[in-house]
Amino acid sequence: MRPADLLASSWRAIRSHKMRSALTMLGIVVGIASVVLTVGLGLGTQKDVSEQIAALGSDLLIVSPGSSTDESGMRGGFGSGTTLTRADADALASTVAVPDALAVAAEKTASVSLEYGESNWTTTVTGTSTSWPEVRSRELLYGTFFTDEDVASGASVIVLGAETAEELFGTAAVVGQDVTIDDDTYEVVGVLSEAGSSGDTSLDDMAVVPMTTLVEQLDDSGSSESVATIYIKAAASNLLSAASQEAESLLLNLHGIASADGADFTIDVQDSLLDAATSVYQKLTVLLTGIAALALLVGGIGVMNIMLVSVTERTREIGLRKALGAAPANIRNQFLIEAMILGLSGGAIGVAIGVGLALALPTVLGSTIVISGLALVVSVVVAVGIGAVFGVYPAARAAKLAPIDALRDQ
């Protein structure tokens, strides 16, 4: 039998049973449409999340003192050393040495007790420079950040996190008030907007003062030049690794270290957010894929079910075809190809519906749906595959029918 005739024969059988063919396809249509939608939703969510992360500063490098690994491969002295200095931060801020850095801010922290009237609140105070809001992507809710003059003079000014301000002042106006730390008075010049939390540290319960102020008045670590962390914001996220290399070679040079293996500092990318978001996204993907797979399984069982009915209904036709010389393989192939054509048509219609919904839904739900050409092609291929897999059993049943029994069937 010629392949073209096989195809034509299958196609005619589908066309002459339009209602049944449509019902068979329905399961596949629904399954594929939901696959297209869920994959689109998954990709859309991924896109949304990575955009949000980019906004949160995935262009941020974190320089910490100490090497992340010692010779035995263990983390040694990480974050606790005194090898990073304010001079390092000033050098990194130079546009000549690290051209791909947009801004640099060193941080040094101390735990302090803030007092305002009867209120008393313990929090972490960070000493830094005026570039800090830009580097850490923070904004001010009220007032202003401190100025370069404040840093130069070591002024007694303080910027409070939103939560800290609320704990101390309640709902009263904050900017211009004075708070007391160890009997010294600090003027509140600004309050930070809320930023949520990173890991288990709150970004809203904190206070910020000029680095000089912290070192001269609040820090009791004893090493006035050392800093805890230097943050470097790259000019763009794709320049992150360039900025990292520039910073590394500058610091190695400044510290008089010949090889990167001996570095007394560590440069990390701020990836904790990315990690968290990726794990959420992966869970979402597994869930959506599971739902889509279930929908396709149901569609496939529908195909098998109706193909079996079709074989029973067409027993006499099968008997006749065999009497006229159809080999078992001819009959099997005809039913298999019917199932695959149904899969193909169902898949194509499902893709069309899925794309239609994907275009319509974002305006309703406000969620992003990304349509990937590859996903569409894969969907159709999967639909054909489902037709084939779930068509195998009915086709084998048809091929096995004995011609005399089949012809005698009423």
């Binding site: 039998m1 005619r12 002459s16 006749l320 009497a323 006229l324 010389g325 078992p328 001819n330 012809l407």
Partner: protein
């Protein structure tokens, strides 16, 4: 002791040669011997009728002759080819090349036109479309339905449908045309029509085996075999014309 017909064709090789043909059906534990040792030769150009009471084994014999079923024992040589032990694929090919079936229930596919139905055996023979259509058209014209080639079975009378079935049986130029009660579902006018058609085919040289209840139908054949309890009774009777 053979029941071989004495025919004027003995110098030529037979189209059908059955020897010691036995067919046993098993239904649960019960065995039933539907054919009990049939020997028979049918020669090219013969018109043979097989008659016998209901349940005597006529259809069983027809299924064996048509390669739709295989013997339990004995041998069957069809057009020089021993088909007794063929597998399903080889039997399908033998049916396609050697046998033209005409059934009591016509067995036309309603989704195909008359022409499409006649083309079917050629499709399984792998004949190219243009050639197929030409040969199917010739066969339809031979049964007088050249003008109905585009009609679907539902748009044809019973007699016309059976003529389409005859065209389908002829189109492969088979070694033998097997007709099981071909007039069983037809009125007297259509019966005459279809039998006349078979007479014409015989006159043109086709080998025909006809299974029937009716003696006036059998009377048209050159030789009549009488089956009773799965055996031929007496010799083939030659009918004088």
């Amino acid at each position: 002791m053979t029941a071989t017909a004495i025919t004027p064709f003995e110098t030529v090789a037979p189209v059908i040669e059955l020897s010691g043909a036995r067919k046993t059906y098993h239904t649960g534990d019960i065995e039933f011997e539907a054919l009990r040792g049939i020997d028979c030769r049918i020669y090219p150009g013969e018109y043979v009728a097989i008659v016998g009471p209901s349940g005597s084994g006529k259809s069983t014999l027809m299924n064996i002759l048509g390669c739709l079923d295989v013997l339990t024992s004995g041998s069957y040589v069809l057009a020089g080819e021993d088909v007794s032990h063929m597998d399903e694929v080889a039997l399908a090919s033998a049916r396609n090349r050697r046998i033209g079936f005409v059934f009591q229930q016509f067995h036309l596919l309603s989704s195909l036109t008359a022409l499409g139905n006649v083309e079917l055996p050629l499709i399984y023979a792998g004949v190219a479309p243009a050639e197929r259509r030409k040969r199917a058209m010739v066969a339809l014209e031979r049964v007088g339905l050249g003008d109905k080639s585009r009609n679907h079975p539902g748009q044809l009378s019973g007699g016309q449908q059976q003529r389409v079935a005859i065209a389908r049986a002829l189109v492969t130029e088979p070694a033998i045309v097997l007709a099981d009660e071909p007039t069983g579902n037809l009125d007297s006018h259509s019966t005459r029509d279809v039998l006349g058609m078979l007479d014409d085919l015989h006159a043109e040289g086709s080998t025909i085996v006809l299974i029937t209840h009716e003696s006036d139908v059998a009377a048209r054949a050159g030789t009549v075999y009488n089956v009773t309890d799965g055996q031929f009774v007496g010799m083939g009777t030659e009918i004088a014309k």
